[in-house]
């Protein structure tokens, strides 16, 4: 018997780390350019151009680092979106649980929307480049039942999997993916959408709902 899957959306972490790394790299480059210009090693550009270039590099770097830092700070406040989902079978309804930790101040009032999306993804070699193509084959809003909890957002999501849809497929160049997208609407959290890659098994469900306790 397959177990429930715990899926976390950590794209914000990756974005934040990437922005901070870009900021640090650009900061070092900017400092290097500044030192090189003023010590006379870079003579091909004028002092005015050098000031402009260094300011630009340092400005973009600083902005990237700031965005990354703020994103990390925000993650610390609202937590990592998590979806606990039972095995998904064709034609069945699975009850998943969505959770996102956070303080009462941040999540004073909130509303959750969710949708299920299925899509085909292919990749193909054209010369030395690899091209990709995607087609959405299924898209449907899901029923969400909010849970009252002391901290953060918690909701039960009924995932209706269509009977005649293709199950998940993951090969080298060809994939069929199923995503659950969850959007938390709340005054202090601006456009907070999470997405979770779920697996649809090549099994037709019996018609009784399965879910997490």
């Amino acid at each position: 018997m397959a177990q429930d899957s715990v899926i976390q959306d950590r794209t914000r972490h990756r974005f934040a780390r990437g922005a901070i790394i870009v900021g640090i790299v650009l900061g070092v480059c900017g400092a290097g350019c500044a030192v090189g210009r003023w010590t006379g090693e870079l003579t091909a550009i004028s002092r005015g151009q050098a000031v402009l270039i260094v300011s630009l590099i340092l400005g973009i770097g600083g902005l990237s680092a700031l965005i990354g830092g703020l994103t990390l700070h925000r993650i610390g406040q609202i937590g990592v979106p998590t979806l606990v989902v039972p095995p998904l079978r064709l034609g069945g309804v699975a009850v998943a649980r969505f959770q996102q930790q956070g303080t009462k101040r941040i999540f004073a009032t909130w509303e959750v929307e969710a949708e299920l999306e299925g899509s085909e993804h292919v990749s193909y070699q054209q010369g030395s480049t690899v091209s990709r193509a995607t087609r959405t084959i299924y898209h449907c809003a899901l029923t969400v039942k909010p849970d009252d909890t002391a901290r953060g957002v918690s909701a039960r999501i009924d995932i209706d999997v269509p009977l005649d849809a293709p199950p998940s497929l993951s090969l080298n160049h060809n994939r069929i993916q199923w995503w659950v997208r969850v959007r938390v609407r709340c005054p202090s959290v601006f456009f907070d959408q999470s997405k979770f890659l779920v697996t649809v098994l090549p099994v037709v469900a019996d018609q009784t709902p399965r879910g997490v306790a």
């Binding site: 064709l90 085909e120 990749s123 060809n174 037709v204």
Partner: protein, 125 residues
């Protein structure tokens, strides 16, 4: 002259985790080369092709004969599918190599199989 092979499947539609079953008859396998049956899937379409052989059995070595055929379909599929960008097809193949070895002239019989999800038959029939 290549071996003459005839394949008859009990069912063309098989569920994931099920078995492709049938009968293979052959004649003219004069050199006693193995008659081999395989089950494979292939994915074609806009993307680069994918595919794999999932089962292979030796059916017989005699010059002529008849044998049962059983090829297991994996529980994870994939299922037969005809989508917008990709297409998944399954084939059972039986082949031998009768006549001269130099000619390398294999007999090959291909039968398309439709693989459906587990439990699909009980819902649709």
């Amino acid at each position: 002259v290549s071996a003459q092979i005839e394949v008859r499947l009990d069912h063309r539609v098989v569920e994931c985790g099920g078995t492709v079953a049938g009968t293979v008859r052959w004649t003219g396998n004069r050199r006693g080369e193995p008659i081999v049956a395989t089950l494979r899937y292939g994915v074609s379409g806009r993307g680069d092709p994918d595919g794999a052989e999932v089962a292979r059995v030796h059916v017989g070595l005699d010059e002529a004969g008849q044998a049962g055929l059983r090829l297991e379909v994996p529980t994870q599929g994939p299922v037969t599918y005809n989508g917008q960008l990709l297409r998944v097809r399954w084939q059972a193949m039986v082949f031998g190599r009768g006549g001269s070895r130099r000619k390398m002239n294999p007999s090959l019989v291909m039968v398309e199989v439709i693989v459906v999800p587990q439990g699909w038959m009980s819902v649709h029939h």
